[in-house]
Structures are given as structure tokens and as C-alpha cells.
């Protein structure tokens, strides 16, 4: 049985999904069901007393592994504070570290991410850090106790696909932890390609939430991730420059 194990939890699905940007949170249960996903991200924010909104947690099916993120954190201290608050809310001990101070490309701060990961892993969190696909950052995250590394394929919410493909390939080859491609995946074929390359899982939000039919797109991504994983396990055939006949080159009728 091919399972992904993170933080002691066995996962059947290698697709992690987000809860942001949906036209209505009421879409989330069906998206979860169609995607097959077992891990779902949420964010923590101040309550706006002037415009009360619904509670996203009401729409997340029970049994899902919650993965709160530290979005909004600009340094390690802020990420640690958010992680502790999320844990205090009783939603388990998984945390996606996201430390960002670049508002244009939303690229993560590797140094601050490592610092936050070290502290939180020491406190017993299952830490999944969002990173640029930088081998040295990933290696240090292994050292300080991350449960996985989550490199970006392209900037968050850009739907541009695996622009960092070569660097992702190196991380998959060199890092013993699960490599989960997070951010930038726009199409099911992007997710499938990441899985064919040997990624352990894909995390995506915008590509599903911004589709005309999010439930259908969720199903497509679930299938793509599963297909890519099977292809990786099966072992891809070699790529060749010239043609190589699939049918016998003897016994032709004109001989």
C-alpha cells in the first residue's frame, strides 16, 4: 500500500488543499469529497468586529488533518506566535510555516523560516515549511526537525506551474524528507508532472478555488496527483532523441 506518512499520520491522498478564495465556503465540503484530500490548510486572523463573517471551520469535514498556516508572519517570532495560537485553538500540532516580507512575489524568507521551524519542532509541532526550492535551506530544515519541505513551483496564487522545475528535481533527489510542491500549481497536468518527478505530495488552493467549477477541478486534481504518483512508482520510460519503433521491423508485406 503506497502511503505518505507525515507526523505519524498515514495519508492515502497526496493532494493537500486550501480553503481560501472560494466564492462561498459552502463549496468546501464537496471540494474535499471530490478531491479525496485528507489535509486542508486554514489561516488565523483577527476578528473584524465591524463585518462579522461565517466560520470556515463549519465547512471542513471532521477527520481532516488541519494544517494551519502562519500567513501574515513577517519574521520567525511572528510565525511562532501564530503557530502557538493555532495549537491553543485545539486544532492539532501541524503547522505550515510561511514567513513572508516580500509583498510583490510573496517569496518566503528562508532564514526566518529555519529559525521558526527549529523552535516549533522543538515544541513538538509537525512543521511543514513553505520555502523557495533552495537546497541549502532545505538541508538546514532537515537538521532542525522539519517534517517535510514545501518548495514553491511558482509564486503563490499565480497558477503558472512548475517554473522552478530543475530546483525541485534537485530537492527531490537530495532531501530525505517528503518534498511537497506548494504554490503556483495551476493545472492538473502541473500537479501530475510534480508527482511524476517524485514529489511526495502537492498543496494547492487557487487553482481549485478559482475554477469555474471548483468541485470538478478538485476531482481532476485528485486524479492527476494519483496518476502522477502511479507513474513515478511505475518508473518512466527513457526519453530518446530519435524514433524507436513500437512494432516489429521485420515481416513487412512488401519484403
Amino acid at each position: 500500500m503506497d502511503q505518505l506518512v507525515i507526523g505519524g499520520r498515514s495519508l492515502q491522498s497526496r493532494l493537500f488543499i486550501g480553503t481560501g478564495k472560494y466564492s462561498a465556503d459552502t463549496l468546501i465540503p464537496e471540494v474535499v469529497k471530490k478531491s479525496g484530500s485528507e489535509v486542508i490548510t486554514v489561516a488565523l486572523r483577527r476578528i473584524d468586529f465591524n463585518s462579522p463573517t461565517g466560520n470556515v471551520m463549519d465547512h471542513i469535514p471532521s477527520g481532516m488533518q488541519l494544517l494551519p498556516n502562519t500567513s501574515g508572519a513577517r519574521n520567525a517570532q511572528e510565525a511562532i506566535r501564530i503557530a502557538r495560537l493555532a495549537k491553543a485553538a485545539g486544532c492539532g500540532n501541524w503547522i505550515k510555516i510561511e514567513v513572508i516580507s516580500d509583498n510583490k512575489y510573496l517569496l518566503p524568507d528562508g532564514y526566518e523560516t529555519i529559525k521558526a521551524t527549529e523552535v516549533l519542532a522543538g515544541e513538538g509541532f509537525v512543521v511543514l515549511p513553505y520555502i523557495s526550492p533552495d537546497l541549502m535551506v532545505a538541508k538546514q530544515l532537515v537538521e532542525v526537525g522539519a517534517a517535510a519541505v514545501m518548495p514553491l513551483g511558482a509564486p503563490i496564487g499565480s497558477n503558472r506551474g512548475l517554473k522552478t522545475k530543475e530546483l525541485l528535481r534537485i530537492l527531490i533527489e537530495e532531501i530525505a524528507l517528503p518534498v511537497i510542491v506548494d504554490a503556483g500549481i495551476g493545472k492538473p497536468s502541473d500537479a501530475c508532472e510534480a508527482m511524476e518527478m517524485g514529489a511526495a505530495a502537492c498543496l494547492l488552493n487557487t487553482a481549485i478555488a478559482s475554477a469555474n467549477q471548483p468541485e470538478l477541478m478538485a476531482e481532476a486534481f485528485g486524479m492527476a496527483v494519483a496518476a502522477g504518483r502511479k507513474a513515478y512508482l511505475a518508473g518512466l520510460g527513457r526519453s530518446e532523441k530519435y524514433a524507436s519503433s513500437s512494432s516489429p521491423l521485420t515481416g513487412f508485406l512488401h519484403n
Partner: protein, 66 residues
């Protein structure tokens, strides 16, 4: 007295504990997370904390995110 609630000054016109204050804000107390003077406080502690002038409160909840 005044407290700072999510970065904004809020008036508290009589003595009340944290639980009463949060209830007065018509919050769903089951789904919120509270930081009192930068210390996370659990639900069972809310009625033991009497609000003081200049207290700083952060009241948070989970929202959609990626």
C-alpha cells in the same frame, strides 16, 4: 476604562471578566482564540480574568487560507 481590542481602543464601562466582555461582543465563544496581554488564555480561564485599564486583547479565528 479602556482596553485595546485587536489594535483598536474599546471602552469598558463596568467591571467585567474576560468571558463577559467577549460575550458582550456577540462572538461565538466556541470558535475564537484569545490572547490576553500577549499570553494565550484558555476558555476555562476567561471568567477568572478581570479586565484592567490598558489591557491588550487579541481575538482571533480561523479563516480560509492556502
Amino acid at each position: 476604562m479602556e482596553v485595546v481590542l485587536n489594535g483598536t481602543v474599546a471602552n469598558v464601562d463596568k467591571e467585567m471578566n474576560l468571558w463577559e466582555f467577549l460575550l458582550s461582543k456577540e462572538l461565538d465563544l466556541e470558535t475564537i482564540i484569545v490572547e490576553y496581554n500577549e499570553v494565550i488564555v484558555k476558555k476555562q480561564e476567561w471568567n477568572m480574568i478581570i479586565l484592567q485599564d490598558k489591557d491588550r486583547l487579541e481575538v482571533l479565528k480561523f479563516v480560509g487560507g492556502g
